[in-house]
């Protein structure tokens, strides 16, 4: 008993040390950013001017709104495109799975600069039809987040017996939209949330394409402001980081509350393929 207690105590101490080490490693830069963004560089002391600039500076505020809208539009477009496609491919055209996976992962292998050059001609038409709004970046960002979103949704779909669930729903009178929305989506919810939050993180962190295309997103503004107003630029960066942390926290809480071990995972896997 004593030996067990010692091991437990030792384990707890080791865990505590690890926690402190990791906390210092990750939190110290954030503390430094918070410190710098609240420092009054001219008169000394503390000021919240840099943080007030996030809403007071019109250009910066506009870029925050644009980036947030881009994140929302990208997530919605990505989910509308990817979720039904992936479900359909798994159920009806499994032979196309390899091609879809290849296409979705392709953006990872193409440098942002090449994408910008390649898209220039396409965007002539996009701006012709939709105007020169920065929100047209949604199209590029949907492509950009595909590899990450595909992986998250694919993992969620692999963890359920999609074919049996869909067939059970259909045999009970559900049409395809109902089957997808009421049966499949609730069971891949954690994957959808992961895909959404990863996409938001990618969009809020993207600089190259927006900058080279001449659109004023938050990241582009942060770089520009950084040249003249260091504290405001750092305050904006810290705000984005904190926003990301909050999203991850939400993801963790939401998936935990919905996490119920699916019966299908507990059951012995039954091979699918050509029926008897």
């Amino acid at each position: 008993m004593v030996a067990v207690k010692h091991t437990t105590l030792g384990g707890k101490a080791f865990r505590a040390v690890l926690w402190v080490a990791f906390a210092l490693f990750f939190l110290f830069p954030l503390y430094a950013m918070a410190d710098f963004s609240t420092r009054n560089l001219l008169a000394g002391g503390r000021t919240m001017a840099a943080w007030q600039n996030l809403v007071a500076d019109d250009a910066l505020y506009q870029s925050i709104v644009i980036s947030l809208l881009l994140a929302v539009f990208t997530v919605v477009a990505m989910l509308l495109l990817l979720v039904p496609t992936m479900i359909w491919v798994r159920l009806r055209t499994p032979w196309a799975k390899g091609t879809v996976e290849f296409l979705c992962l392709l953006p990872l292998t193409i440098p942002a600069l090449v994408i910008v050059v390649g898209l220039r001609n396409v965007y002539l038409w996009v701006t012709y039809f939709l105007g020169e709004s920065a929100l047209t970046l949604t199209f590029v960002y949907v492509v950009l987040v595909l590899p990450f979103a595909y992986r998250a949704i694919d993992a969620a779909l692999s963890s359920i017996d999609l074919q049996t669930l869909a067939e059970a729903a259909r045999s009970l009178g559900a049409g395809w939209p109902t089957t997808i929305l009421r049966v499949v989506v609730p069971n891949i919810w954690s994957g959808i949330l992961s895909a959404a939050f990863i996409s938001i993180a990618v969009v809020l962190g993207e600089f190259t394409i927006a900058s080279l295309s001449g659109f004023q997103t938050l990241q582009v503004q942060i770089v520009q402001i950084g040249k003249t107003d260091g504290p405001t630029s750092v305050a904006a960066s810290l705000a984005v980081l904190l926003f990301g942390f909050v999203l991850l926290l939400l993801l963790s809480l939401l998936t935990r509350s919905r996490r119920r071990a699916p019966a299908l995972e507990a059951a012995a896997p039954i091979p699918t393929g050509v029926p008897e």
Binding site: D161, L165, R170, S171, G173, A174, V183, L264, E276
Partner: protein, 345 residues
């Protein structure tokens, strides 16, 4: 509770690439009848069921239910309840919501859904578990809920696709009897697909034996067992000894006995398919056969005897009777005067 309808599968063919899963398959199910499709893996039984459910399309042929052609009706409009081989309860819903799901799709009001779902759960003895999730139930309980869910919509046809194959032997036997009880109670026309002959013989009004996409024989269980129409059925259903025999004038002569030859037997010399329970073994110091081994199977035993020509024959008898035999004992082997099928050797 429900009035059964007739089901007609006419000349169904299903081709997957180069594989013909169904080859001119036809089946008629009477209203309220439970028909079991039995056959080895890959014989086409699941394909036939899936085509009836609307989950697969036949390459050719028609499906009619209650006299109406439903070949082009999608699965969600066919009004058929289905229990799958894999556990198919929706993991995000409680047992009650699972059973009520189909009723919700039909647009039934919530009070009616709940009351009907509870009735169905009572029918399968699981109303105490109505607020649990699928992951909190055993495999047998999940399949019983799946049965309740399939019956809740009062389907015109109930389809059971090897619903017991993922369960252990004891639960399987219990649930098998429960399925039959519930089916008789609700009177729904039912198609039960299985590869387990004991299961098929125990629950079905009629059993259809399939091989290579075709129906070999469709008959009542006792009839199928006693009078197999083809060598495949004789071989697949029950155990058989293959004993040299000679057919003439409708009778087969084997092991020194003359017994009736079943329809479909070859004329002249062939191999008689003799069930172990039709083989008689009697202790005889002057006998030309000897006991080779005795296998104890609980209430019954299987006694193996080596014949004069060196071939081995098995006989099934009560264990109390089999106790009298030991390896090396001289015996006389005979056949009871039941019909046998004689096939060409």
């Amino acid at each position: 509770m429900t009035t059964g309808v007739a089901v007609e599968l006419n000349d169904l063919t299903r081709v997957y690439g180069t594989v013909k899963a169904l080859d001119g398959f036809s089946l008629h199910i009477e209203p309220g009848e439970l028909v079991a499709l039995l056959g080895p893996s890959g014989c086409g039984k699941t394909t036939a069921l899936r085509i009836l459910a609307g989950l697969d399309e036949a390459t050719s042929g028609t499906v009619s239910v209650g006299g109406r052609d439903v070949s082009n009706v999608p699965a969600n409009k066919r009004d058929m309840g289905m229990v799958f081989q894999a556990y198919s309860l929706f993991p995000h819903l409680t047992v009650l919501d699972n059973v009520a799901f189909g009723l919700k799709m039909c647009g039934k009001p919530k009070s009616e859904r709940t009351s009907r779902a509870v009735d169905m759960l009572d029918l399968v003895g699981l109303s105490a578990h109505k607020h649990k999730y699928a992951s909190e139930l055993s495999g047998g309980q999940q399949q019983r809920v799946a049965l309740a869910r399939a019956l809740a919509i009062q389907p015109r046809v109930l389809l059971l696709d090897e619903p017991l194959s993922a369960l252990d032997a004891k639960v399987r036997a219990q649930l098998r009897d429960e399925i039959r009880r519930v089916q008789l109670e609700v009177g729904t026309t039912t198609l039960f697909v299985t590869h387990d002959q004991e299961e098929a013989l125990a629950v079905a009004d009629r059993v259809g034996v399939m091989s290579q996409g075709k129906l070999e024989q469709l008959a009542a269980p006792a009839d199928l067992y006693a009078n197999p129409a083809t060598p495949f059925v004789a071989e697949f259903v029950g155990l058989n000894n293959k004993v040299p025999g000679e057919v003439s004038g409708g009778r087969a002569r084997l092991l020194g006995t003359s017994v009736p030859a079943l329809e479909g037997s070859v004329a002249g010399a062939g191999l008689a398919m003799v069930r172990p329970e039709s083989v008689t073994i009697a202790a005889d110091p002057a006998g030309t056969s000897t006991i080779s081994s005795v296998a104890f199977l609980g209430p019954i035993s299987r006694v193996y005897a080596t014949l004069q020509d060196g071939s081995v024959i098995s006989a099934q008898m009560a264990s109390s009777q089999a106790k009298a035999f030991s390896p090396g004992d001289p015996v006389t082997v005979g056949v009871e005067p039941t019909g046998v099928l004689v096939v060409s050797d």
